[in-house]
């Protein structure tokens, strides 16, 4: 909250230095404490990728435990020390691994890594602005995120290990420091990290919304914005409304942990000793958490949707199908996301009528989701498709969204959820629909905008290898989990194959683990491609994908302020691909209708009678000329 005061200092800086041109920037102000949105986007991306790699390694570690609960791997002890005594990951550390894997992936990779990267890169570039509303706040947003990442990872260094109550940190496990090893310092660090993370998210989100609403270039009305901007804008609104609620929940949790209040605690017996807490309600935390938590999953998926829409339209060489429907479905998802949180709590003893209400609101989300899915498919239909790596990942995103979304209909059902709650069916569902789908959207974005970010092209062949191995790997990992879930296998268990009734799943576990290892190895191809392309990649042209949006009108060499001269004016929507009568199969947004007389259509001039008159004149002369011939 003190950021406000600091923020104002930033404004003061502007005043002092805002009009001095062509400074020689020091290394520190160019690469480290940069206030340029493009540099901040790169910082977010690289930190996000680093966190993703760490989270992936954590997942491989717990997959090894699941596949080989009886084998010992002395190497693990060498690497992890006390967390893996005698060559086996300890039960407590297993729980830490799942918790931190979830936390990092949901928040650090798919919220900050995804929104942070692409909102920072694309919002100013695609709406035609010099920078964000407050570049200083933007810089703070990254550094809070960075500190949050460091604190989160530092919890691996404390004696009892990181937080281990699951990424949802339900009390009482999270509220009683002595409840289990992971409830101690690890949990404290988790909470500190998340508070910084929320501060970062809010500062970023405030900037994104303000920039989109206030700083669009001439001619860029809301209905001329690319779908990426719509998605990132609505995502930021979701964050602004949802994250403060998490903070409220966390504040009460901190008071329970450290100050002896009983908001969430009641009737606790710890190691045979009755605790003084009385009257608290753990369900209260779940309400506060999921009021954030559900919008959070849309914070994760909506940028991926926007990126995929843009990438698919560009590479199908077709206008996005149903642009308005795409926007309204995003708005629909945004609104609905706030009234469905109860579906995470069907089995908490909720009134069945209330469960019914949440079930209906949840199932209604299928409508905007289906609208989007069909529109993507219709965009591909008869398109002149260019299978770039970005396009493949965008299509992959749609695939995961469909196959993961279908199981959402099962889980949104209050009656079926009694059986499926907290089983591997849930794990399979959300890893496909928001995990894999969002990651694929993010990768599509990386491949597509890499030339814009680094001025170089990524290698296509490695991109294809990366795509196919990851795509197949993800399905091989998550598809079998549905069946485990239907059989009642609970999630987060250290060694469930020890139960006689679940022993038969051991072979499936082994299979999944090897599929996961394969998919993880595929990421090496990506990392190699990403890093080497930055340095020795082929130099990118200004508009390598022949795209319409504004970011491709900026020079390849970045400069502070984005456009060397005036900011270009926008005359048309961003999806004029393959317009009949046009000279090329794309018409950038900056081309006025007066230059494209042969391809203009009456509906281009809906609120422009003068233009329509001109068009009619043009077509009638054209007709007259033809009659003469």
């Amino acid at each position: 909250m003190s950021t406000l005061a600091v923020h104002d200092h930033g404004v003061a800086h502007h005043d002092d230095h805002g009009h001095e041109h062509h400074h020689n920037q020091s290394f520190l102000s160019k690469y480290v404490f940069s206030m340029d949105h493009k540099m901040i986007a790169k910082q977010f991306l690289i930190t996000g990728i680093t966190m993703a790699v760490i989270a992936m390694i954590l997942s491989i570690l717990f997959r090894i435990q699941l596949a080989y609960p009886d084998k010992t791997f002395p190497l693990l002890t060498t690497l992890l020390g006390r967390f893996a005594p005698n060559g086996r990951i300890s039960a407590d550390f297993y729980l830490s691994l799942v918790t931190i894997h979830g936390t990092i992936m949901v928040f650090f990779v798919l919220t900050a890594g995804l929104s942070g990267t692409f909102a920072n890169l694309l919002i100013p570039l695609q709406i035609g602005a010099r920078d964000m509303a407050s570049p200083f706040m933007n810089m703070l947003s990254y550094w809070f995120f960075f500190m949050a990442s460091v604190v989160m990872l530092s919890s691996f260094l404390v004696q009892k290990g990181p937080a281990s109550g699951g990424w949802t940190i339900y009390p009482p496990l999270s509220a009683l420091p002595k409840a289990m090893p992971g409830s101690g310092e690890g949990m404290t660090l988790w909470l500190i990290s998340m508070v910084m993370f929320v501060a970062s998210s809010l500062m970023g989100g405030i900037n994104y919304v303000s920039t989109v609403l206030n700083m669009r270039t001439k001619g860029m009305d809301l209905w001329k914005m690319p779908l990426t901007i719509w998605a990132l804008f609505l995502t930021a609104i979701l964050g602004i409304l949802a994250f403060p609620v998490l903070v409220a929940g966390v504040v009460l949790l901190i008071f329970d942990r450290s100050f002896g209040t009983s908001f969430y605690l009641s009737d606790i017996v710890l190691n045979g000793v009755q605790q003084p807490y009385e009257g608290g309600s753990p369900i209260l935390f779940q309400h506060l958490f999921w009021f954030l938590g559900h919008p959070e999953v849309y914070i994760v998926i909506m940028p991926a949707m926007g990126i995929s829409s843009e990438v698919m339209s560009v590479n199908s060489r077709k206008p996005i199908f149903g642009y308005h429907a795409m926007v309204y479905s995003l708005i629909g998802i945004t609104v609905l996301s706030f009234i469905v949180w109860g579906h995470h709590m069907f089995v908490t003893g909720m009134n069945p009528f209330l469960g019914g209400v949440f079930m209906i609101t949840t199932l209604i989300i299928a409508v905007p989701s289906a609208v989007k899915t069909f529109n993507w498919l219709a965009t591909l239909w008869r398109g002149n498709i260019r299978f770039t790596p970005a396009m493949l990942f965008a299509i992959g995103m749609v695939s995961f969204f469909i196959s993961g979304g279908l199981t959402g209909i099962f889980l949104g059902n209050a009656a079926l959820d009694i059986n499926l709650h907290d089983t591997y069916f849930v794990v399979a569902h959300f890893h496909l629909v928001m995990g894999s789908a969002a990651i694929f959207g993010m990768l599509a974005g990386v491949y597509h905008w890499f030339p814009k970010m680094f001025g170089k092209m990524m290698d296509e062949k490695l991109g294809y290898l990366h795509f196919w191995l990851t795509f197949i790997g993800a399905y091989l990992v998550f598809f079998p989990m549905h069946f485990m879930g239907l059989d009642g296998v609970p999630r987060r268990y250290y060694a469930f194959t020890e139960f006689v009734s679940m022993q038969r799943w051991l072979t499936v576990n082994t299979f999944i683990t090897w599929a996961a290892i394969m998919a993880a190895c595929a990421q090496v191809a990506f990392l190699y491609n990403f890093i080497t392309s930055i340095f020795i990649g082929k130099k990118a042209t200004q508009n390598p994908w022949e795209s319409n949006t504004l970011e491709w009108t900026t020079p390849v060499e970045h400069l502070h302020g984005n456009w060397p001269g005036e900011i270009p004016t926008v005359y048309r929507w961003p999806y004029d691909y393959s317009k009949p009568g046009a000279e090329e199969d794309y018409i950038p947004q900056t081309v006025p209708f007066s230059q494209t007389m042969s391809s203009n259509l009456p509906h281009d001039f809906e609120d422009n009678p003068k233009g329509l008159e001109e068009l009619n004149k043009f077509t009638s002369t054209l007709k007259a000329n033809e009659q003469v011939k």
Binding site: R130, A133, P244, S262, H560
Partner: protein, 194 residues
Amino acid sequence: MMAQIQKGNDRLDLAPKKFNMWIFIFTSFMFFAALTSGFIVYSGGKGHGLNVIMPDAFKYSTAVIILSSITLFLASKAAKGLQFDKQRMFLWLTFVLGVTFFAIQVYAWYVLTYKMNIFLTDTNASRSFVYIFTGMHLVHIIAAILLLLNTLRGTYKNIPQVRNMFKMEMTSIFWHFLGIIWIYLYVFLLLNQN
């Protein structure tokens, strides 16, 4: 040093920054809405009423914070009229009232704890909520006072009038908002005190 945006022909536009403040106020509003919803869920679900008559101190603090809004408004008015001495005086007055508000709230905690035996760690968490509401509001008040001091510092440094007005507006939005939030919290507590 750090901000070197090539402005070109674009003029320095402060409107988006002011808009940032409005959005921040939204986030802050959501935070207090979440806390009060938490109260409703807790006291409704568990049958724990508050059953505390709010100390009179809250009445005085309410009066003080309303008064501080008035003085800040007068400071803005003086700034608009280029009467900088007057602006400075009213800003100082607002600052004093802000600190007074802070002190009265802390005194109210004293009354609650020592005179009325209502503790933060009460087994009836509805009562703990009273401390959380006021405490979280005070955290915001600290931020607002820092913002106010920053504006005040500007008036001594002879900054351009555009910036002076900008700072005044940023401070005013936040300050009046905190007044409104306090009234909301107080009325909320009054309505739920039985």
